[in-house]
Amino acid sequence: MIIPTKEKGADISRRDLLKSGGAMATVTLASGVTLMSFGGKAAADGLKPGARWGLLIDAGKCPEDCSACVSACSKEHGWEDNGLDTDPQWIRKVTLREKETGRENSLPVMCQHCDEPPCVDVCPTGASFKREDGIVLVNRHTCIGCRYCMMACPFKARSFVHEPVTDQRTDSPRGNGTVEGCNMCVHKIDRGDGTTACVEACQATGNNAMMFGDLNDPESDIAIAVSTYASVELRADLGLNLGVRYQNI
């Protein structure tokens, strides 16, 4: 199934209505009570129309003994992998070995933010969805924890939360009975940080193996890099058009 990406502004969406301060400066919510604050407040807020956020990972620059991206993700989102089979993993370091030559590669793997995500196809409730800027998320308000998406994902990118969670990061709610995975630090993107926790951590180590950006913006570093140098998708045979690309694997 091809998930149609609707151009923002092509029609009057709910958000446009909210953005146009004049149209909804005063909202009547109950008889005799009006909420004045909606109109105009949401201007410049919300996802970037037409964007396709992605990552470019250079496995050649990713040393096997480094897992700074994994620790940064765990800290940013408040998940912990203590080695139990049931512990969540939003991102993990994977070692690839070429059978014929024995050449080994170490690289981080997380949700690849497929353009045609199998997890969305199989979700019975619509909880698994793709935002208009290409980020694939679980809406935990509607996730029933059936884990179909975990079975459908070719990259084992999703985890089920088996235990009750308390004291979550306030920007990254997560809870028992729902499925979760890399959300490309959607809270950071929405507030305009222009990077993710893993990319920041990778840059801080000096390895600079990861790059984040808008693949649809021809001026962005990531778009220039992928149009200049060779990069591949994992399991390109599946034809899912991934938002995460790799070099030197």
Partner: protein
């Protein structure tokens, strides 16, 4: 009438909801910030609808500047616990629970959302439980303005 009164009181006591000595109303702790311009009555009635409407704005469209944000609710309605940290929803005195216990409405929000500001964002001065006559008085003053 008297039996009803007694049973309501007993119910409240059983559920651990703090009850004002002289009344049957839940003892809702004062909040930190400015009172809601729309009034408390409005938010008391409409907060579920506003929260579920605005959560879709954030989750689906990335709109973060919303009226019903749980992060903002729990920051402004934080209440000091015995260890000087804000109370979590595990305590019956948590701002949400005072009312929800009283009305016997289960809150699902905090299965995923943090029920207090995260460590590092704790306000320097937290309102103590609404029990003291001064704080209650100050609160009533503020909301009656």
């Amino acid at each position: 009438m008297k039996t009803l009164l007694v049973s309501v009181l007993m119910m409240a006591a059983l559920m651990g909801a703090p009850v004002l000595a002289e009344g049957l109303l839940p003892n809702i702790p004062a909040a930190l910030g400015e009172p809601h311009p729309e009034g408390n009555e409005f938010w008391r009635v409409n907060h579920p609808a506003i929260l579920s409407h605005d959560r879709d704005l954030t989750v689906l469209d990335g709109i973060r500047d919303i009226d019903g944000s749980i992060k903002t609710c729990v920051a402004c309605h934080a209440v000091e616990g015995p260890d000087a940290a804000p109370l979590t929803v595990a305590s019956p005195e948590h701002a949400c629970r005072t009312c929800h216990d009283y009305t016997a409405v289960k809150i699902d929000c905090f299965q995923c959302h943090n029920s207090r500001p995260e460590a590092g964002d704790w306000p320097a001065v937290l309102p103590s439980l609404g029990g003291t006559p001064e704080s209650l008085h100050a609160y009533l003053e503020r909301i009656s303005q």
